[in-house]
Amino acid sequence: MRNEDTVMERSSAITKSDITKSMWIYWLGAELSNSYERLQSLIFCASMIPILKKLYKDKEKLSEALKRHLIFFNTEGTLGAAIQGIAIAMEEENARKDSGSSAITSIKTGLMGPLAGMGDAIIWAALMPIIIAVFIPLAKQGSPLGGLLPLILYPAITLGISYMLIHNGYQLGKISILNMLKGNRMKSIIFTANVIGLFMMGALSASYVKLTTPMVVVMAEGSKIVVQDILNMIVPGLLPLVAVYGIYWYLTKRGPYYSRILAAVVVFSLVASILGIL
């Protein structure tokens, strides 16, 4: 009996390279098959295939497991690797003891929201624009390195993070990850990323949002007042700041209606251009 058990275990043992393979599949296709209906469900299921095929030799069970991972799933793909690691550990447990496959789904749905929020803030809102912006001066001089360096650095950094997370997630299992999410350490990392992100957004806004007014007010006695000069006397760079803050305010109050804002920017630019106020 005991002998049989170890044989069973060995035949279904997930190796480190299986887990890495799973990470690569998810990374390769996270957005490729993305649909409005179930977002990343298809790629998450596909990424579990190397694992599930090893765990479930029985066709019925394999089919069940595949369907389990085709339900709605969406998160930020870099940090999402942690969810993969946990899901792999839980599937392995489930294959051994046939215990609680519903727990796998609920832990996935429970983690995908918080990790998406963190990932969007760290990986996309801070890391990506900073990497691009740092090399823009090179590109402006006409050097291809301005494009090639971000192209190499960004995937390399994010893949490194994914690799660490999927293996740690697998080792730690669900409880430790939840503790880590709640813990002080995670809070301090997010705080640091938020501060850097916001500071950089301010710097980038000032550098790259271009808005000045050519308006000139002619006074009765014939003297001219250049409006931009007056604005500069009060606070330089006021108009771009108003633009960023105005849009941010609208997003917070009304919600993420990007197309509506885009249309508003187009109309506003046309009107301002015709009237000659900007």
């Binding site: 957005e31 870099t78 494009g147 192209l151 710097a203």
Partner: protein, 253 residues
């Protein structure tokens, strides 16, 4: 380079970049600075190509963070059209950028179409899962969306690049000055949308003073981006030390 080959190559590039093969790799392929490298190689004019790419990148810099993958505008479509046309017609970067903005908006709709149609493949995968056909699921996740992507993406870029510079030049010549100026304005304001989205994603209203600090570090102290990255990081790390103490950093795991 023959215009036909250039148009085909640009169409293929746009298809491949928008395929999103490689989560964080393809997201960089979509950026104008990277498209600039590609156009520079195939056109032989690396310097102008990179300059237009850099200018266009500034417009779309903030639009990199897209919660839920919703693109508020498509830098890749803008880049795959404006950079090659700009290089061939020897346009100044500003004119090429003005040319690109409308295409960036058009790209949004193309992507919405893709993600709507992609739902077909999830339903196919449902059926494959029923039969435990793992090969079928892999095809539904990679091959079929790639074919769909080619059909809806290649023709746009190919056609516009092939019809080429003469048409675009004529078009630009007929456009009135106020319309061209409004494109410039859009180019100046659009980054604001991108940065606003990013601030919203970060979602910490109480930390907004750091945004103001970064902003006026550039306005008053004339920081460049690298300087801002260095000082911003140091400020963040110091504050972390003060707020969370040393143990938060040292007792890893």
């Amino acid at each position: 380079m023959d215009i036909l080959i250039l148009a085909i190559l640009m169409g293929l590039y746009y298809w491949f970049a928008r395929l999103r093969l490689g989560y964080t790799f393809s997201s960089m392929l979509l950026q104008p600075v990277v498209i600039g490298v590609f156009v520079g190689i195939i056109s032989g004019n690396m310097i102008l190509s990179m300059q237009i790419g850099a200018g266009l990148q500034l417009v779309y810099l903030g639009v990199t963070s897209t919660p839920g993958g919703n693109v508020p505008s498509d830098p890749a479509l803008a880049g795959c059209i404006a950079i090659p046309l700009g290089v061939l017609a020897n346009m100044s970067p500003e004119v090429a950028i003005a040319l690109a903005i409308p295409f960036g908006v058009l790209g949004v709709f193309v992507d919405q179409l893709r993600r709507t149609l992609n739902a077909i493949f999830v339903h196919m995968a449902d059926r494959y899962a029923e039969k435990a056909d793992t090969g079928g699921i892999m095809r539904a996740a990679f091959v079929y969306p790639a074919i769909l992507g080619f059909i809806i993406r290649f023709p746009v870029v190919f056609a516009i690049n092939y019809l080429g510079e003469s048409v675009v030049q004529q078009l630009l010549a007929t456009l009135p000055q106020w319309l061209l100026h409004s494109f410039e304005l859009m180019g100046g304001i659009l980054p604001a949308l991108g940065f606003a989205i990013t601030i919203k994603v970060i979602g910490k209203n109480s930390l907004m003073p750091f945004f103001i600090m970064g902003y006026f570090a550039v306005v008053y102290l004339k920081f460049d981006v690298m300087a801002a990255a260095i000082f911003g990081t140091c400020i963040a790390l110091l504050l972390k030390l003060i707020m969370f103490g040393k143990e938060a950093t040292s007792n890893a795991k």
